[in-house]
Symmetry: C2
Subunit: 129 residues, 2 copies
């Protein structure tokens, strides 16, 4: 039953599993990717970010920004104008998440469409007797 191809497939699946888990470990939580998406269209200040990323609390945003900065995803620019303004900018490294964000965006769009169409057609329940 266990052929070379099967073993190889299992091995590949296993490394894929670890890699996906590594990625999820860094990108955990509801907010990291949304914040990155929000910043992908241009630098933003704290309050701008809070308005863009709907539903996020100041405390959470502050916390997430610190983590993102620590992990090298964003840079915090302090402009000593009056009043002091602070801008958050994506690093080159977070641009490497482009494929991930794109895939999620495309899938999310499709998924929403699917859910909406299911609501319209509640279910053609096939008798499973």
């Amino acid at each position: 039953m266990l052929q070379l191809q099967t073993i190889s497939a299992e091995w590949e699946a296993c490394t894929a599993l670890s890699a996906v888990q590594d990625a999820l470990y860094v990108l955990n939580g509801k907010w990291k990717l949304p914040i990155i998406v929000a910043l992908s269209s241009g630098n933003k200040r704290f309050n701008e970010l809070q308005k863009t990323v709907k539903g996020i609390a100041a405390k959470v945003l502050s916390h997430e920004l610190k983590e993102l900065e620590l992990n090298g995803f964003v840079i915090r620019h302090v402009y000593t104008s009056t009043p002091v303004t602070i801008e958050y900018e994506l690093t080159e490294y977070s641009n490497s998440l482009g494929q991930v964000v794109d895939a999620l965006r495309i899938w999310g769009t499709m998924h929403r469409e699917k859910i909406r169409s299911q609501l319209r057609q509640p279910k053609a329940v096939p008798e499973t007797t």
Copy 2:
């Protein structure tokens, strides 16, 4: 300052943001995508899954499988052999996550490489103990 292009970019970023949040809403937690990856190399039984997805507790696996089934990502097959065996299979719908999984796998691999190379060349850290 606000030009049409800027407005357009902001609009696109906003829809992208919602789409990504929609996707994350369904794929929340540490385990859903890893389970899907584990099943992507072939159907598996409960205990096989638990061995493949390292670190997951039976309770959590059970819970996640129920959610995945409810959301139409996996099918639970009951074979009335003796003893009864139960297999989990991915649906066609979860294959639509292929791009997402691929992107995460590639990024995760790259990210791990980056972290490892940072460990080899610590950034001018005074402490080496």
